[in-house]
């Protein structure tokens, strides 16, 4: 049974203090609650959480939905986005099963990167590392006006922007992530092929950034 690995890479730098970080914690909980109500997701989806500030840390290794325990994320430090990408690439290489001649591996992972700032470290190594792993989608989410959309554009396959990092927007974002994961878990097995399909339309709080290279 192929698993659908989902990595949530979440910014917990100081700028997220207060209402935003509470909204992220609640958003994660409701994301898990929603996915557990989907019998397709229950069978295939595995979740991991990678938090980052000055240093990244994988709080929850790739875990099935029933075992998954929502972490309590606390804010600190800077926005080390480059290092977070490095760690994500490393963990995917270690945790996602590759297909071999006689065993089926996992589906290609879905990665969501959520940030409300601009990277404070050098991103080049992280970008090279994440581009070196095979992903279905890497969705970058810029929360609010201070988030650097350009940072995300340099590595993501899709970029979305929240109006603000208010609790309401963050909740809407997690609901959309849950819908995206649900939809992917139902469609991946399709004749269309892979997890690289379409995502559901985002709610009004989320704006999709056009990535066409001009």
């Amino acid at each position: 049974m192929r698993r659908l690995p989902v990595y949530l890479v979440l910014d917990k730098s100081y700028s997220m203090s207060g209402e935003p970080i509470n909204a992220v914690n609640q958003g994660l909980q409701s994301l898990v609650d929603m996915l557990r109500q989907d019998p397709h997701a229950l069978e295939t989806v595995y979740l991991s959480v990678i938090e980052f500030s000055s240093e990244p840390i994988q709080t929850i290794p790739l875990t099935d939905l029933m075992t998954f325990q929502t972490p309590a994320i606390k804010p600190d430090g800077m926005t080390g986005l480059g290092a977070a990408l490095m760690l994500t690439a490393e963990r995917i290489k270690a945790e996602v099963k590759q297909t071999t001649a006689d065993t089926k591996g996992d589906w290609r992972p879905l990665v969501f990167v959520f940030t409300d700032g601009a990277a404070t470290d050098d991103m080049s190594k992280g970008i090279a590392a994440i581009k070196g792993v095979s992903l279905a989608k890497l969705i970058g989410c810029a929360a609010g006006k201070d988030a650097d959309v350009e940072d995300l554009k340099s590595f993501a396959t899709d970029v979305v922007q929240l109006d603000s990092n208010s609790a309401e927007s963050i909740r809407a974002f997690f609901a959309w992530v849950s819908a995206s994961v649900s939809m992917t878990s139902q469609n991946i097995e399709g004749g269309g092929g892979d997890a690289g399909g379409e995502l559901p339309p985002p709610p009004k709080e989320i704006q999709v950034i056009n990535l066409s290279k001009d």
Partner: protein
């Protein structure tokens, strides 16, 4: 415009385990909840599950619904466990999302279908333009594939084509080949290369994900024959796929082969009795003990009685119906009201088996010619022959006694 409305039994009453930990109470009973071992046995509340007989009934009602759709010349085109609501506790089925309905030459297909249920020829040609003559599109024959997959999945809780064989390194490409051009039945007797590997299953998924332990033959001879056609010949030759009508007829006969498991704690509760030297429940391995009467059904063709390839495995308090005593009657939506209640029942008393005649006015013993009036109790013994009436479709029951 008709707004969709479903009956209460299509919504979870108890929901999931541990006082509805998943918070699904009140949500609709999407088929997928019942089509995978973990979903059904680990996550659902015990009171939502039903038993194996309920799943046979669900399959029967599903076949009936699809048969009627097809008889009207319509194809659903997206039959899947996402688009059926199932109520195992009442045996009821509701097909939803008929927005992809295909009317040949009038409404062309718009959807390709849902993963797991798309016919191999549709998967294999999905890269072609819709106008390409080689592109296969949803139709009644692709619905037949979906129906076969659904019946197999609901009775055996595994997918008939998802085995261990790897066709390509890329998961998407592997998927297209597994479900399309290279589709291969996981239980193909002559080609074991796509067998499911029980070693890769979770303990809670066994024995379902181990076809050696729980082969598809446990569904009985009538369904086995149709599965063979659907998943061996029918994958590559869509015209060979059994019709909904054939599934319905085979399921009706299979219900008559069923026995209650003698282990009160058996999660499945019922199984198809296989007349072997050591009959046992395939789910919990409890052996059948005691004496079991089998009625072999014959009916008249010209001057002689011929076998109808239909048998009834008797259990205590089992009912005998109009369609058992008359070959021309089929239990379906056209059944007259007076044909819906039983005409007799079976009972075991002090180790002896009896048939109690409730509504068969012309029942008689074929060998002695003795009339067996309404209200009489007939002891079942090896070799006994009963004639159920004087109509052209009336049956002859030939009794066989088996010891477990």
């Amino acid at each position: 415009m008709v707004a969709p409305f479903y009956q209460d039994h299509f919504f979870f009453e108890h929901g999931s385990f541990n006082n509805d930990m998943l918070k699904i109470r009140g949500k609709d009973k999407e088929g997928k909840w019942f089509a995978a071992p973990n979903n059904q046995f680990k996550f659902l509340d015990e009171r939502e599950r039903g038993n194996w007989l309920s799943y046979l009934q669900l399959c029967l009602r599903l076949s009936r619904a699809v048969r009627r759709l097809h008889a009207a010349g319509l194809a659903h085109s997206d039959l899947s466990y996402k688009n059926v609501l199932l109520s195992p506790t009442t045996g009821q089925v509701c097909i939803i999302d008929v927005d992809g309905l295909v009317v040949p030459e009038r409404f062309p297909p718009e959807v390709v279908g849902t993963p797991d249920f798309i016919a191999p020829e549709v998967v294999a040609s999905s890269h072609l333009e819709k106008t390409d003559p080689n592109r296969a599109l949803p139709s009644i024959t692709t619905d037949r594939h979906a129906l076969a997959v659904m019946i197999y999945t609901l009775l055996l809780l595994r997918h008939p084509l998802r085995g261990r064989k790897v066709h390509a390194e890329d998961p998407g490409e592997d998927e297209r080949l597994t479900m399309g051009r290279e589709a291969l039945f996981i239980e193909h007797p002559a080609d074991a290369s796509n067998r499911l590997s029980p070693a890769e299953a979770k303990p809670t998924e066994l024995p379902w994900k181990d076809p050696e332990a729980l082969p598809y033959t446990i569904t009985g001879p009538y369904l086995k024959e149709l599965f063979d056609r659907a998943f061996m010949e029918g994958l590559q030759a869509p015209r060979k796929r059994p019709s909904a009508d054939e599934w319905e007829a085979a399921l009706i006969k299979t219900v008559d082969l069923i026995q209650p498991c003698q282990n009160n704690d058996c999660a499945q509760g019922w199984y198809v009795f296989a007349n072997t030297t050591a009959p046992q429940c395939p789910f919990c391995a409890t052996p059948y003990t005691g004496e079991l009467p089998i009625l072999n059904l014959y009916s008249q063709r010209g001057d002689s009685f011929r076998p109808d390839n239909h048998r009834l495995m008797v259990y205590s308090n089992q009912s005998l119906f109009a369609w058992h005593v008359d070959r021309t009657i089929t239990p379906n939506e056209r059944l007259a009201v007076d044909q819906r209640s039983r005409v007799g029942y079976f009972v075991q008393h002090q180790g002896r088996w009896f048939l109690v005649n409730e509504r068969m006015p012309a029942l008689r013993n074929a060998q002695t010619g003795e009339d067996l009036p309404i209200g009489s109790q007939i002891e079942l013994k090896e070799g006994l022959q009963l004639i159920t009436g004087k109509d052209p479709g009336s049956r002859l029951f030939h009794v066989q006694m088996v010891n477990g």
